[in-house]
Symmetry: C2
Subunit: 164 residues, 2 copies
DNA sequence: TGAAAATAAATCGCGCGCGACTTAATCACA
DNA sequence: TGTGATTAAGTCGCGCGCGATTTATTTTCA
């Protein structure tokens, strides 16, 4: 019923864009990578990659998770996380210990050094946001838009998997 | 002056999220990957990866570009594009020809098969959007939000590079 | 003119993403 | 109780992203 792409927005000052620029998915793709590039110099100082930074922040809020629940929180599969966590273990940031009561599970926890690094990492988003000069209102509005969008994508993914 | 992250939105029905969920960059990251996963089954039918899909659409609108300008349009570096374009050449979708008047430049153009594939690929965004059930208004509003966000990220990147 | 600077593309190495598959432990229930 | 299904994590292979470097061509200007 609700159709979409072609047709530029019927608004007065509509930007005359076409191709990838008119697609949500490309704009998400481009914005995500550009944002990560903005983080990169700060992350290098902390000796972290962007996905490692996300794992660190996630553990800071919920230490002692299993690999699967960590992946669910960050939208990563175990085939991404397993090698990544191995590298973070080598770097001395986390420990991975087989659970006693269920030997299939591996519990991931921050080391002392990991928690310290996480504290430093937690400063970055505010620091970047401040530098960007974005207004607080616009920040939270954009955040809400993205939450809604993610919910719609998840719904569509469910429908797709259900094969209706 | 304008500070940001911690502090949940001071709105009545503010979602009580913390950690990565409260960060713009993570929501962009998660939304982008989730959206690409939505595209993947359709792209497989067209024997394309997502970045190849973007290149194809970009060439459909502006054939005969150089590698650099293609990269500028899509936010990719030549070290990403060069191998990708080589694979697309092997697949018979594009041609890469050294420019006569400036032998540094390589002109990328669609083959017949490439143009046909691009036509098919151009159907996907509308198809996906229709399936998602998103309203047309919400689509264009989200698009504008993302364009504004990308502009702010670009501005911040400029400032960062300028080293102020 | 010719040597240094700038530009365009490619190559290399490493860390993700992710589809496909494997291994190992637990669960379900006939 | 045991055997098949399920679940959790890991391995493998390939295609990006991207920092660092290289090669080749053109531009600049002393």
């Amino acid at each position: 019923m609700t159709q979409m792409p072609p047709n530029p927005p019927a608004l007065p000052d509509a930007p005359l864009v076409a191709g990838p620029e008119a697609m949500l998915c490309f704009n998400l793709y481009a914005a995500s990578h550009a944002f990560i590039r903005l983080y990169t110099p700060h992350l290098e100082r902390l000796q972290l990659t962007y996905p490692q930074f996300l794992v660190l922040l996630s553990l800071k809020d919920a230490d002692g998770q299993g690999v699967g629940s960590l992946g669910a929180a960050l939208g990563m599969e175990t085939n991404t996380l397993s090698p990544l966590l191995k590298r973070m273990t080598t770097a001395g940031l986390i420990t991975r210990i087989r659970s006693q009561e269920d030997e299939r599970r591996v519990v991931v926890a921050l080391t002392e050094a990991g928690r310290a690094r996480a504290e430093q990492a937690a400063e970055l988003p505010g620091c970047i946001a401040r530098d960007s000069g974005m207004s607080e209102q616009s920040y939270w509005q954009t955040l809400e838009t993205l939450h809604l969008l993610r919910a719609q994508i998840d719904t569509a993914a469910q429908k797709q998997k259900g094969g209706v």
